[in-house]
Structures are given as C-alpha cells and as structure tokens.
Symmetry: C2
DNA sequence: AAATACCCTACTGTTTTTGTCAAGTATTAT
DNA sequence: ATAATACTTGACAAAAACAGTAGGGTATTT
C-alpha cells in the first residue's frame, strides 16, 4: 500500500543529479537520463513541472542544462513530491479540492489526517543535501500530543 | 500523493462497526452497509479478506454476522490495511516480491524504506480501541537514529 | 422448508499511471 | 548566417490499478 508514483521517484533522483552539479555545472536531461536510467522524454515532463515550481532553472543551448534555483539544503523531498504528485492526501476527503459530507460524523477522518501530517513532516525534514550526504534520520516527529474526536 | 484505496478505508470503517458489537452482538453486513454507506457486495469482498486473515469471524444464519476474533485493543490499523492493501511499500523495489538490480547504487532506496517504516510504526500503534475511544496520538516514532548509506 | 446471512468467482467500466511522439523555441559556436 | 545543442509544449496511447456489480452457492436457524 501507499505506492509512490514513478514520477515522484524519478523526480527526486533527477533532483539529486542536478544537485550534484550545483552551483557550477548545469546538468543536461541526457546526462540525468543515462545516470538514472529514465527516458529523456519522460524526464522532460518531470523537470518541466519542477522548473515551473521554481525548484530549478533551465539554461538553453549548448553548455546548458538544469541547475538548482536555491541551495541543496533548502530543497526538501516534500517540496519535490508536492509538485509532482500533489499534497499528501490519504483520502479524497482530505484533498484540498474535494470536500466530504460525512466528514463530521466520520470515525476515521482525523486518523488519516494525522498520518498524512506525520508523513509530510518527515519529508520536510529531509533535504537534497541530506540525501547527498547519505544521512537522514527521523526526528521524533510529533504531530499532536492528543487528538480528541 | 499517497492515496489510500477505498478498500482500505472501508475496511477500517467496517471493522469499527464490528468492534462496536464486540463481544456480545454479531454485526451483519447489511448493518455495516447502512451505517457506513458502502454497498453490501463490496463489503463482502472486504470482510472476506479480513476473515481469512483471522481478524474477524463469521456466524451464518439468522442472528449471525461478524464479530472480532480478538479484543479491539489487540487489532491495529496496520493489521487491517496490511490485509487489504498489502504491506507498506512506497516503491516496487521495496516490495517483498519484486527485487531491483539498482538497489545497491540507488540513492533513494533507504529514504523510501525509512519513510515506509515510519508509516508502518505509526499505524501499528493505533488500535481499534483507540479509534473507538477517539484518541490516538503519535508516539515519537523513531525508526533509526541515523542511517548511513 | 423458508428465511436469513455469509461465501465465492467472474466480470466490467473507469480512472490513473506510465510513458511515447512530434513539432517548436531559444542559445551558442563557427 | 547556419548548424548544433538543449530545453518547451501538448497530444496521445497502452497498460495497470481501482471501484464496484452480478449472480449463484452454502450454512444455519426457526
Ligand atoms: S468518508 Fe469523508 S471524511 Fe470519512
Ligand atoms: S530504483 Fe530500485 S532501489 Fe532505487
């Protein structure tokens, strides 16, 4: 359960490659494609979203490529996944868009909400820099001391 | 991102209704259907899985229905979702079945693994009893102090 | 035997996912 | 200028997953 889409997975791996070039060298889609074994066409879609979100910027023409828009320790995994897969919402009732008429009488609503918040909090603490350094740890994420329904 | 399937959602809500009858009164599919607004046919599929997993038992004939196989404080949300959606595996590489050739050189593998473990740990701490009582809290879930890649 | 209630398998329409393809725009090097 | 490089964009399609229906069968009670 709770599968991450390939777009999200590839997106993080692509960002990792781009981060490696920062701040000197723009990284081309082709290079990312070869290193991470993802097709150029698919990466185009992914990187486009991340560029529009302001996480990376692009440089056209020979010698061009992609480069981080801010330093690696200021880009969290959460911010990448948010752009590619939308916000964490374990049920459609929790979607920013979709409301639910049962929400007040629903016995599970707050449970899914709490879990979602926990996931989000975790992903926010991990940055590209952490990923590159190879150390990431879970910091006693505490959503709420107690939730009364 | 990270959407839970309706099977998982309905399953937890159905278990909640069954738990309310425990240990005296078996709860029928029809009752669950009406209270939780899920079709009888769909619930049959879901409850069948949960019965085969040993979480509930069934009583046939008039006066029958479903009843918990052990007390509500011994049934975690994790155990319910595990049966209906399989184990938490954010990527196919983490699936018990599917291996991945890149796993050793993969920069994100341990990240998804850590997140998955965190989710699982959270869901294991919440029982049906917690759900019924309306209090569930996140207990400083700590997967590992530090993961070195 | 009639009524109740669970059991089981198959099937189908819909949505989401996972990509591919083709044509276009901007920049640099020669 | 012109060719080569590299990003940009939108349309499209196969495949998988999801959500749910349908229909017949079995066991138990009254
Ligand atoms: S069914 Fe919508 S909030 Fe639970
Ligand atoms: S691609 Fe399989 S482990 Fe990362």
């Amino acid at each position: 359960m709770l599968r991450l889409s390939t777009k999200g997975q590839y997106g993080v791996r692509a960002m990792y490659e781009i981060a490696r070039g920062y701040p000197e060298t723009p990284v081309t889609i082709k290079e990312i494609s070869e290193r991470q074994d993802v097709s150029v066409a698919y990466l185009e879609q992914i990187l486009n979203k991340l560029r529009k979100a302001g996480l990376i910027k692009s440089i056209k023409g020979p010698g061009g490529g992609y480069i981080l828009n801010r330093s690696a320790d200021k880009i969290s995994i959460a911010s990448i996944l948010n752009e590619l897969e939308g916000p964490v919402a374990l049920t459609s009732c929790l979607d920013p868009e979709g409301g639910c008429v049962r929400v007040d009488s629903c016995v599970t609503h707050l449970l899914w909400k709490a879990l979602g918040e926990q996931v989000e909090a975790f992903l926010k603490t991990i940055t590209l820099k952490n990923l590159m350094a190879g150390d990431f740890y879970s910091q006693e994420v505490k959503v709420k001391d107690k939730v009364k329904v």
